[in-house]
């Protein structure tokens, strides 16, 4: 099993642990996130298995990344309290869904990775991440940021999508013209996945009082 698959599995287990031990985590958004991690693991596992057997995975990842972006956009919608921003995110999601579907079905095709709309999705995620950090700094709350699960999740998302913006945006080009670099670039992508799912894991575990759990305090 690839190491990034293990990272996803760990983050799923971390989410279950967080949900079991921290009462305030049992919100619809974090419950959905945990379920989303299970889906991510399943899809990535299938994708990994397909590529091992030299099967085309573009179609799988086209639909999965569409679902992934829509999920993250709804995750951001749940994070913000400002109704105007919520509305903007809702419209962005609908717009993104339509545009991406049109791209997959009619423009880039099902068997080619939807690079154009992937870049658009990255841009939206990075934009809303920046907005989240801006609102965090503008209206700071009590308590430390390290105990805020959303801070870890959004940090991971922003970092991952800033870095994969060009990596996956040029996916088709790299695959066609620079095959010798392709493997290395996707190793970097695995590293980014590892960092993303590590930050998710920290997010779900950040509020667990370990000394209390171990009976040390």
């Amino acid at each position: 099993m690839d190491f990034y698959l293990i990272a996803i599995l760990i983050s799923f287990i971390a989410s279950l642990t967080g949900l079991a031990l921290v009462k305030e985590f049992r919100t619809p958004v974090l419950l959905c996130f945990s379920f989303f991690l299970l889906i991510s693991f399943s899809v990535e596992y299938i994708g990994n298995d397909m590529s091992m057997r030299n099967k085309h995975t573009a179609s799988l990842y086209n639909y999965f990344t569409l679902f992934e972006f829509i999920f993250y956009l709804f995750f951001f919608r749940a994070l913000f309290t400002n109704p105007r921003i919520k509305k903007i995110i809702l419209f962005s999601s609908i717009f993104y869904f339509i545009i991406t579907l049109l791209n997959i079905l009619f423009l880039q095709g099902r068997t080619t990775f939807h690079t154009y709309t992937y870049v658009l999705g990255c841009t939206l995620i990075v934009l809303f991440s920046i907005m989240y950090f801006y609102s965090l700094l503008k209206f700071p709350e009590k308590g430390t940021l390290t105990k805020n699960p959303f801070f870890w999740i959004v940090s991971g998302l922003m970092f991952y999508y800033t870095c994969t913006f060009s990596l996956y945006g040029l996916n088709n080009f790299i695959a066609e013209t620079m095959q010798q670099y392709s493997k290395n670039l996707f190793l970097i992508s695995d590293t980014l996945n590892l960092l993303l799912y590590t930050s998710f894991s920290i997010g779900f575990l950040c509020k667990i009082n370990i000394p209390k759990l171990l009976g040390l305090s």
Binding site: F133, L136, P140, S155, F159, C163, T191, L195
Partner: protein
């Protein structure tokens, strides 16, 4: 082989670089957030103090204009009641007049302590003198106040905040110290004024008091420390059980005429 080795190194270096970048981002964010949090708390405290000052001002005006006036009318009414000196009622009226006089003085003192504009007008030294004289009148404490003969200037807003901190210090002495003597001292040193309040009371464990929840210590020591910080100063308390208490407040100020351009 050599080529493959350099590729592996390249990927590892890139991975480490990305991880460091993420860690750097998180650390920066945590530092900036902490700064913003502090700034936000200061702003909130500032707003709260401003609201408090407005309430004090309104309260002071209400006391002076309404209650004070009604008491004056009551005093006047008592004076014009026609009774002969030898009548029994005269004794009660005279006592009542004395009580009304006392209430008028107390209320007037309270009104003056609360009124923001008056404090700015008379200055911090006179305001502190007035507070100490007020305590002396109770005959429960002996007070003294020594101050440097320099005229300094402060931002009026800061002067009010400083005065409210001093009021809180004095209030704490009255409420908790069981002291008999209170000494206030004001010196000017390197663009700072230093107020020191010393009492010979029972003292207390400063560390323990600072850790107590705010509900157990009124407005609280931490609040006083924060207020002093808000105006660029600092407040420190030196005390030990049985050894009295010394409170030092240092606030930036400029000698009159020495203001920077």
């Amino acid at each position: 082989m050599q080529n493959q080795y350099s590729e592996v190194v390249g990927v590892i270096v890139a991975g480490i670089f990305l991880a460091l970048l993420l860690v750097g981002f998180i650390i920066t964010m945590l530092v900036v957030y902490r700064k913003k949090q502090y700034q936000h708390q200061q702003e909130l405290l500032h707003a709260r103090l401003e609201i408090q000052e407005n309430i004090f001002k309104n309260l002071s005006e209400e006391i002076h204009d309404n209650i004070g006036q009604e008491l004056s009318v009551l005093k006047l009414t008592l004076s014009v009641i026609a009774v002969k000196k030898e009548e029994e009622a005269e004794k009660f009226i005279s006592e009542s007049k004395g009580m009304v006089n006392h209430i008028i003085t107390s209320i007037s003192d309270l009104s003056r302590s609360l009124h923001t504009d008056r404090i700015i007008k008379i200055g911090i030294i006179e305001a502190v003198k007035f507070e100490l004289e007020k305590i002396e009148k109770t005959n429960l404490f002996k007070t003294s106040f020594s101050y440097a003969d320099v005229e300094f200037q402060m931002n009026p807003g800061n002067e009010i905040f400083l005065f409210r901190i001093i009021q809180e210090v004095i209030n704490n002495i009255i409420k908790h110290s069981r002291a008999q003597n209170i000494h206030a001292d004001l010196i000017y040193k390197e663009n700072r004024i230093i107020f020191t309040f010393t009492d010979d009371g029972i003292g207390f464990d400063v560390k323990e008091a600072m850790q107590r929840p705010s509900s157990n210590r009124g407005i609280g020591l931490t609040s006083m420390v924060n207020r002093a910080k808000l105006i660029g100063g600092q407040l420190s308390i030196l005390s030990q059980p049985g050894k009295g208490t010394k409170t030092v407040i240092e606030i930036p100020a400029v000698i009159a005429g020495n203001q920077p351009a």
